[in-house]
Structure formats: structure tokens, C-alpha cells
Symmetry: C2
């Protein structure tokens, strides 16, 4: 049966996940597009429900390993109803509703990241993507944009499935980092090319416009910066986070 009405409860439930309120109420988030949904399934995340645009080549799609492994039949949506649940402007024919992992804030097991008030979901997503690639698999998000917002999930390119995301206030997060060397990215910090961090450390990244919060700045053991030629004073937040993550996580360690 194909659901055509945008007023259908299933459509309304899925569409509510585009907003923070809906995600909080249902405890789930949206994953859009075939590649992302497959990777989500492979990563072991719990898929609650899959919706397909009814005009797609359903037969071919439902023969894929993803579907054969998935117990419930997908929900079929008409064109308008499907568009209503998607955040992308030109959506592919598939979305999944996925459980948001209930993650307690615990101390890190390896090098980790603390996002300190990042406000832009696309930046949060791009940073999660880099973190997954650079081996920062535990990410603390202190008062940041929601990493499960559609824009952030998309920018993370599956990184959000592979990192442990721990969200909370600074008061909740900083105690879990007690005893962990905290290196904070800061324009005026030491040259990141020269810093040799220990095996377990936490890299803190501040807000796009205002940088680090006072609480994180006070707690930081060292500040690390990227050298820049005048008159440039800063880099894009995701770019500077990426450079710092790779320098501390990969490059500098190799020379030891």
C-alpha cells in the first residue's frame, strides 16, 4: 500500500525528525539516500523503519542485502509524501529512521575530540567526518548544534555512524575528561606542527566566531595554533579542526 497523504501519521512522524523537537521526542533521526542508509545498516546502528518513494524501482532495491537483512517491509510513500519527509532538495528514493544511540558521558579510551559550542550543523558534520577518518572516535559535544540534524548527518558522510557522540553541558563533560591532557585549538597557541601529544589526549575546538569557552580555556593544558601568513587571522572552523586533528593525531606522532 502506498501512502499518499502528507497528513498520514507515519509521514508526520518521519517529517518531525527534521526538527530537534521531533528527534528528541522519538529518540531517532533521519538518514537519507541509498549509500548512507546502507552504510548505516553496516555500521550496526539500529534502523527503526525504512521509507521508499513508491515510484522507485522497488523490486531491484528490495533485493539488495540491506533489505533482505531487514525484517519489516519498507513503508511506501507517494511523491509528495516522500518529499515531505526528506530534508534534501533533490532526494534520492530512500530514507531511514534510525535510533539515536543513548550514550553516557564516560572518559575516553583513545585520542578524542571536544566540540566546544560549535553552532553550525554543517561544520559539526564535516568535523565528525574528519574525526572518523583521523581516528578520533570519541567525540564530546558541549552545547553544540545537533549532530543528528539532517544537515549534519549529511555533512558527516557516515562519520556519525562510526563515532561515539557524547552530548551534554560543559559541566557534564569536563569531569569525564579529568586527568586527560586537554589541547585546545586557539589562534594564539603553540605551533601545532611542533606539538607532540601523548597517546591519549583530547583536542578541543571552539565556536566558529568566538573560539573557546572560558570553562574549556581554563581547563586546557596547552593551546595549539596553526601558523598563518599575515594578514589572514583565521581559517574556516572545519578546515582548521581538520588540520589540527591530522597534525596531532597522525603527522606529529610519526616523528616520535
Amino acid at each position: 500500500m502506498v501512502i499518499v497523504s502528507k497528513q498520514n501519521p507515519v509521514v508526520k512522524e518521519l517529517a518531525s525528525l527534521k526538527e530537534k523537537k521531533g528527534r528528541r521526542e522519538r529518540g531517532t533521526f533521519l538518514v537519507e539516500g541509498g549509500k548512507m542508509v546502507s552504510e548505516c545498516a553496516e555500521s550496526g546502528m539500529e534502523i527503526v523503519r525504512i521509507a521508499l518513494r513508491a515510484t522507485e524501482e522497488r523490486d531491484a532495491l528490495t533485493q539488495t542485502p540491506l533489505f533482505r537483512s531487514f525484517a519489516s517491509a519498507p513503508v511506501l510513500l507517494g511523491e509528495d509524501a516522500f518529499k515531505a519527509v526528506c530534508d534534501e532538495k533533490t532526494p534520492q528514493g530512500i530514507v531511514a529512521e534510525v535510533k539515536i544511540p543513548q550514550t553516557k558521558i564516560v572518559p575516553p579510551k583513545g585520542r578524542c575530540l571536544l566540540l566546544d559550542g560549535l553552532a553550525d550543523p554543517a561544520n559539526v558534520g564535516a568535523i565528525v567526518r574528519t574525526a572518523a577518518a583521523a581516528g578520533y572516535k570519541e567525540i564530546y559535544l558541549a552545547e553544540c548544534a545537533d549532530p543528528y540534524a539532517p544537515k549534519s548527518v549529511r555533512a558527516s558522510m557516515s562519520g556519525v555512524f562510526y563515532c561515539k557522540l557524547m552530548r551534554g553541558t560543559r559541566e557534564e563533560i569536563l569531569p569525564a575528561l579529568a586527568g586527560v591532557p586537554l589541547l585546545a585549538a586557539d589562534m594564539d597557541g603553540e605551533d601545532a606542527f611542533k606539538v607532540r601529544p601523548p597517546e591519549i589526549f583530547c583536542l578541543a575546538i571552539g565556536n566558529e566566531g568566538n573560539g573557546l569557552s572560558d570553562a574549556v580555556r581554563r581547563r586546557a593544558d596547552r593551546k595549539v595554533g596553526i601558523p598563518m601568513q599575515a594578514p589572514m587571522e583565521s581559517l574556516n572552523a572545519a578546515v582548521s579542526a581538520g588540520i589540527t586533528m591530522y597534525l596531532l593525531g597522525y603527522g606529529n606522532r610519526k616523528e616520535e
Copy 2:
């Protein structure tokens, strides 16, 4: 005199700069916001005309060094007319019309960048920003998004004023790079942490989705990649360009 009508020729001329066609016809581009306009003036770019929102504190603004050094009086625009010329959603009270430098495609004098079919103006801008900071002051743009589009100018955070931007087709650009070692960023390339480039070289960055063009791939002397932990396969284009620029331009050179 305050211009109120959006049909006023001056307003139409300025508004036309939001589109590629308008920029090509007038040979100018828009710079928005006080900080960017000041930096533009300081960089030595040729400002053709300045427009102010008539509701601003004009007297204070026109006492700044920028205005005292600027010969013609600023154009004053009413609220609606001002909004019509701005690209930003919440514009500050000032925009400048600035001459696009007429730059011939010539061989580089130092380390330089070749953007090979970058499609997203925000990526082009973010990369120009990093390039200016990392000392890649000559940038070849082969069939890329327009670096003078408002989105790109904004993302470059003044980088666009400080880099020499040479735009053309691959057929026009590659001959100017004859004899220059060409290192191309590529997922499957050598580990960028281990590559020691010479003093003058060109780093090529490919399109967001499709990577390098065949022409640039064939011409490349080496391919360099960023190590990534599975299952991540790629990074955001601006992030990966930033990491590679800094590794080749700064980090690796220090160890020589």
C-alpha cells in the same frame, strides 16, 4: 540624497553583481560588510563605489580612515534598495563594488594551487582563505565556480584580495605550469605526510564529487593522499585541500 527605488539604475547595477553575468559585464564584484570592505581597501584592490544603508550611523562611519582615503562620496540607499543589492541575509550597512583584477595566466613564482573543476563557491572561497594563510598566493582556477561570487568572497574572508587568481580552461592553464612539479591530491595517492615537495610546486585539487580531471591527472608528477581509517573514504573538499596545503607547504618542509 538617499536612493529609495529598487528600479534606480545604481541599485540595478549593484544588484546585477550577485550574478555571474553582471560581474562579467561590469568587470566588478561585490564586497559586503565593514570588516571585509576595510580589508579590501587596505589590500590595494580598486574600489569603484561604496554604498551605505541610509539608516546607518553615517557620520561615524565616514570618519574612518577608509572613507577619508576614498575620493567619491558613498551612495546612500534606503532599506529596501540596500537589501536588493546585498547577497547576505542579514546584511551589515555597507557594500563596495570592486574591480576584478585582470590577471594574465603566467607561470608561478612560488608554491601555488590549481583548482581543477571545483563546483561549489563556498568550497572555492574556503580554499582561497586557507591558501592565503598557508602561502599559496597564486591560484589557478580551471573551470571552477566563480571566486568572485558573493558566497565565495564571503567564505574566503578576504583571502580573495590577497591571492592572485588566474582563471581559464585547462588548455590555457596547464601550459603556464610547464616544468613546474605538479602534485595532485588524490585518495589513492602517496601518504601526504611523507612527501617532501621542492620549493616551487603546484598542488592540484579536484572536483568535490569526481576528483581530478583526466587532463590534470595525466600531467601530475605525483599523487598525494591523506591517510584515513576505514570505512571513511574521503573528506570534505575544503578540509582535505587545507590539510594537504599545510602538510606540503609547511609541515613537511620543516623536516628537510
